[in-house]
């Protein structure tokens, strides 16, 4: 790999203005494939989910999956697109061994959805509008595994294995118009767009959109033009950038690389580039000497798709609240800052907190437990917050026990530990571990008397008006009660016994 010269990001932006184009492929979560009845379940034995149609056998024909069309329309509507009254599938002809028919059934000049936009919110709350060119339906290819080479790439491999289980799984390709005006925030805009799109897809229920599973894949097109000019520069197309962080890094890297080439008097070659997760760099793939000729023509084996206006309006009526709108509503309801909301979002805690509030907790307590103790433990264990073996209802119960004084924070943390360890519901853990705040006033009073006697000097200070010193006595009482006392009540008792108003 040749070392690529870069200029610093700041220097690049001082001279150049980035223009981006993002192409995102989303695998729909339909039960069956786009053009046949085969299952789309992941993880099955290779080639066990195939039939004459998705294997491209002679004579086999496609039939359109109605749920696939419905999902495409929902995505289009959520992206504020126009929905075609009449559109067709088209054949995209090219050769590749993992594509059984050697053409991909896709859409060309008649996409199902077009001319929309998605408003995305940056970390500081600023809203940036990304214009959508089109969203169209197509089918996925099979999967090649190259065996015998060093890197898993075809180069140097002794042979390849083909699995057609994925062939024919419905895809929606969403293409933006050129994204201009993002300036230095281009990497952030790109990331926020993909993140927002992912949230949107999930909220629509049309796909789980898990990027790590390849259910959502992103290609990043980028070009630079000198600041103050209009004409777009030559673009590079970085393929398969498959995480939010990678999207941000790929844009940043390409800005720095393009700037280095341009400012040294070179020219950018229009080419596809591979992204490398390890160091965030890109390297050249195949050069597009001339535009590839896919010889598109309308698919004669399928009849046109003509969604009635009534159906489209019916689907519009079923659209859920958009993720950005929901987030802003929750942020206001919870009374938290943009920054805090972003942290909750990054931690994947929004739905967990909402569910905990629905189970009876107040939002501050729900946030505190999920973003504090639970986030810390998830982080330590390297797992997703949502994958922790505790339910929002259980967290709500812990919060309720704290609220009614049965537990203090320290005890509550032990209850959570018990739940996570599989000891049962919070009440069962309290029972088994004997975690109860000491509320026997007699026993508590004796412990307070004992602490005052043992710390006469401090007691005097308090009597003299230094109320803040009471903390030390509270600590002593908590120690003798092994943490099972209600600290607030202990403090009250101490002040009362020393004749001081709190």
């Amino acid at each position: 790999m040749t070392v690529t010269e870069l200029v610093s990001y700041e220097d690049a932006l001082a001279s150049y203005d980035p223009v981006m184009g993002l192409e995102v492929h989303v695998e729909l979560g339909t039960k069956t494939k786009m053009f046949c009845g085969c299952s789309t379940e992941l993880g099955a034995d290779p080639n066990s989910q195939t039939c004459p149609t998705c294997l491209g056998m002679p004579g086999a024909l496609p039939v359109v999956n109605a749920v696939g069309v419905e999902s495409a329309i929902k995505i289009g509507l959520a992206l504020n697109c126009e929905i075609a009254e009449w559109c067709r599938f088209a054949r995209k002809n090219y050769f590749y061994p993992d594509m059984p028919k050697n053409f991909q059934t896709s859409q060309y000049d008649e996409p199902i959805a077009f001319n929309g936009y998605l408003d995305v919110q940056l970390e500081d709350g600023e809203v940036f509008r990304v214009e959508i060119e089109r969203a169209h339906m197509e089918e996925d290819t099979g999967k090649s595994t190259h065996v015998g080479g060093a890197t898993g790439r075809i180069h140097g491999a002794s042979h390849s294995l083909l699995d057609y289980n994925r062939a024919g799984i419905p895809l929606i390709e969403i293409v933006t118009k050129p994204i201009e005006g993002a300036g230095e925030r281009a990497p952030e805009v790109a990331k926020a767009y993909v993140a927002e799109l992912r949230e949107l897809i999930k909220a629509l229920g049309v796909s789980e959109a898990r990027m790590e599973m390849g259910q959502m894949r992103c290609d990043v097109n980028l070009s630079l033009r000198p600041n103050g000019t209009e004409k777009f520069g030559t673009r590079s197309e970085t393929k398969n950038v498959n995480s939010l962080r990678s999207v941000e890094r790929a844009v940043r890297y390409e800005v720095m690389r393009h700037a280095a080439v341009l400012s040294s008097g070179g020219t950018i070659v229009q080419e596809t580039r591979h992204f490398h997760e390890e160091d965030g760099s890109t390297t050249a793939g195949r050069i597009k000497e001339e535009a590839e000729d896919y010889r598109y023509f309308p698919e004669p084996d399928l009849v046109p798709v003509a969604p009635s206006r009534e159906w489209v309006e019916e689907l519009r009526g079923t659209l859920p609240e958009l993720p950005r709108v929901r987030r802003n509503r929750l942020r206001e309801e919870w009374g938290i800052s943009e920054h805090d909301m972003q942290s909750i979002l990054n931690a994947g805690a929004v739905d967990l907190i909402v569910a905990t509030v629905e189970a009876g907790a107040d939002s501050a307590a729900a946030r505190k437990w999920w973003m504090g103790e639970l986030a810390r433990r998830a982080n330590e264990g390297g797992t997703e917050l949502a994958a922790m073996p505790i339910t929002p209802a259980q967290v709500a119960r812990v919060a309720a026990l704290v609220a009614d004084g049965s537990l203090n924070d320290k005890l509550a943390r032990q209850v959570i530990e018990g739940v996570l360890a599989g000891e049962g519901d919070p009440d069962a853990v309290v029972e088994k571990r004997g975690l109860k705040v000491v509320s026997d006033e007699g026993a508590l009073g004796a412990a307070v008397d004992e602490a005052i006697a043992a710390n006469a000097a401090i007691a005097d200070k308090i009597r003299g008006g230094k109320v803040a010193a009471a903390g030390a006595l509270v600590g002593a009482v908590m120690k003798t009660t092994r943490g099972q006392a209600d600290a607030a009540r202990v403090r009250e008792l101490i002040l009362q016994k020393l004749g001081v108003e709190g």
């Binding site: 056998m57 004579g59 050769f95």
Partner: protein, 498 residues
Amino acid sequence: MTTELIKLTAAEIAEKIAAGELTAVEVTEAHLARIEAVDEKVHAFLHVDREGALKQARAVDEKRARGEKLGPLAGVPLALKDIFTTEGIPTTVGSKILEGWIPPYDATLTKRLKDADVVILGKTNMDEFAMGSSTENSAYGPTGNPWDLTKIPGGSGGGSSAALASYEAPLAIGTDTGGSIRQPAAVTGTVGVKPTYGAVSRYGMVAFSSSLDQGGPCARTVLDAALLHEVIAGHDPLDSTSIDAPVPPVVEAARNGSVEGMRVGVVKQFRGEGYQAGVLQRFDESVELLRELGAEIVEVDCPSFDLALAAYYLIAPSECSSNLARFDGLRYGLRAGDDGTRSAEDVTALTREAGFGPEVKRRVMLGTYALSSGYYDAYYGSAQKVRTLITRDFEKAFEQVDVMVSPTTPTTAFAIGERADDPMAMYLADLCTIPTNLAGNAAMSLPCGLAPEDGLPVGLQIIAPAMKDDRLYKVGAAVEAAFTARWGHPLLEEAPAL
């Protein structure tokens, strides 16, 4: 007995089996014996499924013995064009590239035939991928015309038409993309119908040109064709382009032939240069006959038909270039040059080089060129516009007439080898049949006599509007009855013995 038996019509065979006068096994064995006796000379079949046919026949006989109701074609043998997939039975499409391929599934049409207890004798020869008008493009050698074995039996379905004309089968299946059912029927003195596009499912029919391909019935009589039509037509959820409407009453129409009071259009464009004198003579006599039978004859003008051949030879190759891309040697059929050192691309190239014949290669190249960016609008795009114009010509004509008639093909059967090196001459054989494929409506060819100059059969083409396939049978049955009465016997009786 056997000679008598093989000359029965499908309707007669079915009737006799139902009445217990014949067994299906007897009928099947007679036809298998006939194939054994003459097919070495005719070469109508690529594959004879002796075992499967007898098994199916026995099942029919057992069904009858149990007193179960039999379908209208139960026990009748049929020759299936080798373009429909048959589970467990080779399907080659007349190409080396599918040599040895055993399909894992039945075409919808195959399934319907089996469900109707039709006995499938085997798979018939054809031009490779249905591209041709003579069956000379088969990778497995030509088929002879039973009227004169040195002549072509038409194409692409020459195996099916020859099987009928040589009494190897009373029924056959063809497919018609530009005339591949009708032109073979015309040159062999048999009956062939291209139903309305979408009437017969294309699921399991190996695609040549998806928007033009249509399977249909072939027989020796109009009624037999109608009986078969009814079995194979009907909506199929596995074919998006299949018509979701009741099948027109074709059998009823065939049983009640009449042209009384009908308006019959004679297409002005279908005569002139290139038409054999004897063909025009027989055609003119047919028109006269129709008039005598009570039809009103109207001349119709379809100016866009002159562009049909050109449009067809852009659309069909374009679609074929894409449909045939899947034959890459990776998943099924022939694989050439895979010695462990070559890349997938090289093996694919070598496989296609070895597996496709010259006409297939010519059309793939033509189509690839016509779809290329920068040429698409001029070629494929313009051809689609012509298609619309032709459809409008038909619509206008059918405002004036109920059916149209023309010669099926400009000449009688030509000699094997005569046009093999002249693709343009070969393409002209489909001049009169192609407009119907482009517009998607229905047409039939049936015998209307022998050309005086060569003594070979001439076909009369009847054309009906889309979804009005029954009109073909109504008119066809009337013409057939009148000609048979005039000749004193079916035309095929005049063919020399094999």
